[in-house]
């Protein structure tokens, strides 16, 4: 059951994960919007609305503002490609992903940060005030959030002795009792805060705001239109799906397939869909009751979660 062997079955698992994330991400966003709408007393547009939006945007003409360069043009595709690669590496359905030893934590975090950095550069490339403002806010948040992801998963990886994500998840499946230890609880909380920060959800950023001065992610991509905007929105939804899937695989790994038999894979697929749906509903319901933090309080929240992840690592290394 070595997690390092790459054969046809594991490559098919990775491709399956990428397809699932590509198709399911707008659906996940739709579920979150619908839950939020219903809880706020509105009718809601249905869970397929993001897909309808994507279809509408893809049929429009491609238009690019004057004065932008290659950074603006390549950023949407780069963001979607990096997130799709991360979806292939993170063990979502099964721990036998097609990348073998390449499914490393540091590589996955680097891919996700590359996607965020590409969009920030595109925001700067537009030369508008809002683009620069959104890019600088996004980079402030990413600068504190990225070390926290690394530290929080190091706390789990310290016991396994490796940063290989499939090995960490497989160890979590085998020794389920360790997930209730203080180090794991601290790491779960810290990673949860970072998932909210990196995907631009409340209380860090309001994804449904229309006021530019309160935007972080939306301000960066304000100049995109047509098929580019479709790719950007798809990339944002995929980022949310991959990060929620990572959290679920690390801290609630029951049901994930550890082999590549078809029955185990089908169970893993169903369990993943259920876990993601549950997390999406809980997140959307929580967002209804949360207010956005003032921007100068966000580094405090992220610094606090970084401190908790450092405590998780020290607890995991030095205690028992």
């Amino acid at each position: 059951m070595s997690a390092d062997t790459v054969n046809t079955a594991s490559i098919l698992v990775s491709l399956g994960q990428v397809t699932l994330v590509l198709i399911g991400a707008p659906l996940l966003a739709g579920v979150m919007r619908q839950v939020r709408a219903r809880l706020e007393g509105r009718e809601g547009a249905g869970i397929w609305q993001p897909w309808r939006d994507l279809r509408k945007l893809l049929r429009k003409t491609r238009i690019v503002p004057e004065g932008t360069g290659p950074a603006f043009r390549t950023a949407p595709l780069l963001a979607v490609a990096c997130t799709a690669m991360a979806a292939a590496a993170v063990p979502l359905i099964s721990t036998r992903t097609g990348l073998g030893p390449g499914a490393d934590l540091i590589a996955v975090v680097a891919l996700l940060t590359l996607a965020a950095a590409a969009l920030a550069l595109a925001g700067l490339d537009t030369g508008t005030a809002f683009g620069g403002m959104g890019a600088s806010r996004e980079m402030t948040i990413t600068a504190l959030a990225e070390p926290t992801i690394l530290m929080a998963v190091f706390a789990l990886g310290a016991r396994v002795g490796s940063t290989n994500l499939p090995q960490i998840v497989a160890a979590g499946v085998q020794h389920g009792g360790r997930l209730a230890s203080p180090a794991s609880l601290l790491a779960a909380f810290a990673l949860g805060v970072v998932v909210l920060a990196e995907t631009g959800r409340l209380p860090v950023d309001n994804p449904a705001t229309h006021l530019e001065l309160t935007m972080v992610h939306e301000a960066m991509v304000l100049e995109y239109a047509g098929p580019d905007l479709a790719l950007v929105e798809l990339g944002a939804a995929m980022r949310l799906t991959v990060l929620l899937g990572l959290w679920a695989s690390l801290f609630a790994p029951w049901g994930i397939a550890t082999a590549t038999g078809p029955a185990a894979l089908a169970l893993g697929l169903g369990v993943l869909a259920g876990k993601l749906a549950l997390l999406a509903v809980l997140l959307a319901a929580g967002e209804v009751f949360m207010a956005k933090l003032r921007l100068f309080r966000v580094p405090e929240l992220l610094a606090g979660s970084f401190l908790l992840s450092v405590l998780a690592v020290t607890a995991s290394f030095f205690l028992t």
Partner: protein, 217 residues
Amino acid sequence: MSGDAELLDLAAGAFLLAAVGVLWRRDLTAQTSLLAVQGFALAAIAVILGADQAHPELYAVAAGVGVLRGAVLPALMRRAISARATDRETRPLMNVGASLLSAAALVLLAYAVSQPLVRLLGTASARALPMGLAVALIGLLILVTRRKALSQITGFLLLDNGITAIAFLAAAGVPLLVELGVSFDLLLAVLVLRVLTTRMRALFGDTDLDDLRELHD
């Protein structure tokens, strides 16, 4: 034994998390509540050590510590907090984000510095010793970087809690007499500081100590 070690780690973890909470929250009432939680965690550490090493004296010490640091001192401090808005720490010398990152560095420093002691003792309680040192260092950080008199008292109490935790974890407690003496001194210090704070507030309207460094009219 391993169940006791897990309980000890849990109590020491709660002890450290209470200190982190005091550093994170700006509200003085929340800080005194977290100080009370920390006092009870310290008493829990003493009880677990007493059960583990069969020292019945530690139960009496744990009861004294719990009553004093978990109930009496936070209650005294809470009575000194007024209901006005000036009792939130809004302008510390180092902002909350930077002080949280410094606390992370201090925790790592505490672990690095106490490794020789941990290796010397080798018991499960010694492995939790760096957390006591970390709380003492965080208490010093609060004492040095806050402006309000009550925040500085909180930092001083955190420092003393940390030193007591190190004493418990390294030496399996202190004799009852020593603990009584230290507790009495602590109670006296907090009472005097509380009287001073009330007088400061009556005379100057605020307990921001940085405003009191010069002579005024």
